[in-house]
């Protein structure tokens, strides 16, 4: 038996261990360079003039005064876009700069470069835009009959999913209408970056993003440049959560840099950031669940309307998720789901953590509680009875081939003993520091919710990630364009390389479009699997080459060689070499990793559209001051299906952080939009949970069942925590108050004036 404790050698942490983040120390000393920290001695500052109207025709834009402002080097408008005038993640439908029409409040109209931010501000104020103001189309429920917001029409995508026998009727039916408001990702690091023009007409863009190569291709088209003339390098990313999947200032920076011949830096203000990225789609949802009297689900009907705002972004994929996962992780033999995402003059919506699954989870879990009430059943027992198991069919007709430990997730979370005591300090009461709550009016509630979503890209998308590994002198150098946005992929990349190659030192080269092909997007809980898989395979090929080389050179059997403790050793004995001295020549391998192919949905929303699924459960305990309508989330308990834990500390961090965003959507986070205008574009008025709002998150269980096809069996873990947390908190408030509360966030008036009269 090997006694690890007696080993004198300190081995750098491998898979399953708490490896420290390679960017941890730079981040705690303030030395990590975020995209807003970029500096160049010759740089200019850029700024953006944004539409003050949510719908208007532009009669003219007069920049003559602006260009005369001292220190101004460029003022550019739509006509100055050198290449394709539109961009977009899935459809190129969004103007780089508005031409003859603006379709949402905050749409960019003109851009400025100047030698000081103050000169930028003055120049932006000096631009005169003559608008013919139009009545905005803002109601997603009636938008299909309204004037077209865009030449592409007001319907972005409709999926009419029909599964199983459509004539099924349940003995017990429950019906409900639900609404989810618009949520902002509220990453802390504002949109920012720097473009540096080169003498040969090419451009270097340093930017915080989730997908370097997609950005590169869109920027190149808009700049009228070949893709290789645009090099993107990841600048430090201050959080993303979906909001950096679309372009923001990318093309603007490149236009200003090319026009002025100088490096140009731009940093959005917080107000601008609220207008500068997509949000989580608001949703209106109608549901009818049918069940037998014993609680077996027999049919689910739903109508889903998501408001995509003015441009398509990733809306078509979001509605696919909402539709496919509309009924939750339950066995549902018959379903009709009509999912539509529409275009309005509201702020554009797109990716946010949970991506369509969050909205429907709020609704389907409310329905499951309602059904349990109608049946006189325990809500957890009802969920267990209908929980998906491997081999079951989803609403899409797809059979679950991988792991689906739904029952385990339910049981471990529901059975975990609650730990929350009653509040002692007034700070712990609803309303907190305001000290407004009267303990006499505080009621405690508890509830449970379950959710799931797909991992990786779906519907036939050619989803891949490229990575390379180079081993020299016992040091592994990894190249990948995977965007580290805070989630800790850089840690996992090192752990994977150490695990496969047995090395201690792993160098990660900067993520860039220059050195390697696409890693795909840091979204859809996909990078651990996709770029992790690419790194695992690249390192595996290097390892195989190394062992074959040594076997040939020393006349031993390659299958007999193992790498352990920094040495390559023959198991049969007689041969041993230090890994650092094993080869004189570097060994390299490059891999393009793909997951199993998926198929598009057919006309009935059926097909093997997805690869894999992750399941999570939350139990929430809340205190509600029923007189004031104030809520304090006291405790959250969670279990999650994770495949395999690669780094325990980072896993906990994802579960806690994701739950916090779910708590925010449940009780406080809403982008307030009136007539297409954002009324609260600041952290003063858009409330993000603080440390006092956020309860401790108890992790009841991390369910480890290795997922076939995933590196080390690990599922992506980032999104699931944001899915069931909102539903659980809202349900706990229902449990405390006895109210229906069909909308999140739950506002004080929803509790105090549930009839809607204030």
């Amino acid at each position: 038996m090997t006694d690890l404790a007696t080993s004198e050698r300190t081995v750098a942490p491998r898979i399953g261990e708490n490896a420290p983040r390679p960017d941890g120390v730079p981040k705690v000393v303030g030395a990590f360079a975020f995209s807003s920290d970029l500096h160049h001695d010759r740089m200019l500052w850029g700024g953006t003039l944004r539409s003050t109207h949510s719908s208007a025709r532009i009669r003219s834009v007069d920049v003559s005064t602006a260009v005369a402002v001292t220190g101004v080097h460029a003022v550019l408008v739509s006509d100055d876009v050198p290449g394709q005038k539109v961009f977009g993640l899935e459809y190129r439908d969004q103007p780089v700069l508005a031409g003859d029409v603006v379709r949402y409040e905050g749409e960019p109209v003109a851009i400025v470069a100047a030698d000081h931010p103050e000169a930028v501000r003055m120049a932006l104020e000096a631009i005169v835009v003559d608008y013919e103001v139009l009545v905005p189309v803002v109601d997603p429920m009636t938008v299909e009959e309204a004037e077209p917001v865009h030449p592409d029409g007001n319907l972005v995508r409709r999926i009419h999913l029909r599964h199983g026998n459509q004539d099924v009727v349940g003995d017990v039916q429950v019906e409900g209408t639900y609404e989810v408001a618009m949520q902002d990702q509220a990453f802390l690091g504002p949109e920012s970056g720097m473009a540096v023009p080169a003498d040969d007409g090419s451009i270097d863009l340093y930017v915080a993003t989730q997908w370097l190569h997609s950005d590169r291709d869109q920027v190149a088209d808009c700049m009228g440049l070949d893709p290789e003339k645009v090099r993107l390098t990841l600048a430090g990313v201050g959080g993303a959560f979906g909001a950096r999947e679309d372009l923001s200032l990318h093309v603007h920076l490149c236009m200003l840099a090319r026009h002025t011949g100088r490096p140009v830096k731009m940093v959005y203000s917080r107000e601008e950031s609220f207008h500068g990225h997509v949000h989580r789609h608001p949703a209106q949802m109608w549901y009818r669940h049918h069940a037998d009297r014993d609680g077996t689900l027999v049919r689910v009907e739903a109508h889903l309307i998501l408001d995509g705002g003015a441009y398509a972004s990733s809306s078509s994929a979001v509605i696919a998720n909402a539709t496919c996962f509309a009924a939750g992780p339950y066995r549902v033999p018959s379903a009709e789901i009509d999912g539509a995402v529409v275009r309005t003059n509201n702020p554009p919506c797109g990716a946010m953590r949970g991506f369509g699954a969050v909205q429907v989870c709020f609704a389907h879990e409310a329905q499951m509680d309602r059904l349990a009430g109608a049946l006189g059943m325990d809500p957890v027992a009802l969920r267990l009875q209908n929980a998906l198991v491997p081999g079951d069919e989803l609403l899409t007709g797809q059979t679950i081939k991988g792991t689906a430990p739904v029952a385990e997730v339910i049981r471990t979370c529901a059975d975990h003993p609650p730990g929350a005591s009653m509040a002692v300090d007034p700070l712990e009461l609803p309303g907190g520091a305001g000290r407004t709550a009267d303990p006499e009016h505080v009621v405690r509630g508890e509830a449970f919710a379950l959710g799931f979503k797909n991992l990786l890209f779906s519907e036939g998308f050619d989803d891949f990630s490229e990575a390379s590994c180079r081993l020299a002198g016992g040091v592994a150098t990894i190249t990948s364009a995977c965007a580290e946005v805070g989630q800790g992929f850089v840690t996992l990349a090192q752990q994977i390389a150490r695990e496969v190659l047995g090395v201690d030192e792993v160098v990660l080269l900067p993520a860039s479009t220059a050195g390697i092909g696409s890693a795909g997007s840091t979204s859809a809980s996909r990078q651990t699997w996709m770029s992790g898989g690419a790194i695992q395979e690249a390192c595996g090929q290097v390892r195989a080459q190394l062992l074959e080389h040594l076997a040939a050179e020393h006349g031993v059997d390659a299958d007999d060689l193992v790498i352990a403790d920094g040495r390559v050793v023959s198991m049969a004995g007689g041969f041993e070499v230090d890994l650092a001295k094993a080869t004189t020549e570097p060994i390299e391998a490059s891999v393009v990793f793909r997951h199993v192919p998926t198929l598009p949905l057919d006309e009935n929303g059926q097909g093997n559209a997805h690869v894999s699924f992750a399941f999570s459960a939350h139990r929430a305990i809340v205190d509600v001051d029923v007189e004031l309508g104030l809520v304090k989330v006291v405790e959250l308990t969670t279990s999650q299906d994770v495949g395999r834990v690669l780094n325990p500390l980072q896993t906990v961090g994802q579960l806690e952080g994701g739950a916090a965003q779910g708590v925010g959507l449940a009780v406080m986070e809403e982008v307030l939009v009136q007539e297409g205008r954002i009324r609260n574009p600041s952290f003063t008025d858009y409330l993000v949970p603080t440390a006092l709002d956020m309860p401790p998150v108890e992790i009841a269980a991390l369910i480890e069942q290795a997922e076939p096809g995933a590196p080390f069996g690990a599922k992506g873990i980032g999104e699931a925590p944001s899915i069931s947390s909102t539903a659980a908190v809202a349900a706990a408030i229902r449990n405390a108050t006895g109210l229906d509360l069909p909308r999140v966030p739950v506002r004080p008036t929803d509790i105090v004036f549930p009839g809607g009269t204030a």
Binding site: E118, G236, G238, L427, G658, S682, V688
Partner: protein, 160 residues
Amino acid sequence: MSTDPFILEVNGQSHEVADAHPGESLLRVLRERLRLPGSKNACEEGECGSCTVLLDGQTVCSCLVLASTAVGRQITTIEGLSGDGGLSHVQQAFVDAGAVQCGFCTPGLIVSIGSLLESDPDPSELAVREAISGNLCRCTGYGRVVEAVHLAATRGGGSK
């Protein structure tokens, strides 16, 4: 349009600030003129705490302080908390406890927590949560941050 040159004492060193606009915040001057970008710019209206620095030992949002009003006062930024002796207890605890994700809130949190532990070396969880309730973090949900404070407290708190 620019102010007269003035001197700021930052992390024990004197820095001359020339050509600043009168309205420039301490945050902007630290970040853009003195090239100390560790203090962060998430909201620039005093809500998120990512720009927290010490002004004569008191935590302030440097985005709300006019740079020219900080003349003659001791300014300490995140860059001044780790010296030749390595990381402070709070900084090391952030690394060890997994309190760092994207890291944008991290400098402000570390300045706030260092200040907390100076005055309360062994704070209760509620005291920790109240002390950092002016520092928004979007990644962690605060669980590992609270853990890091307790870890730092057991290792000697704000004394280094």
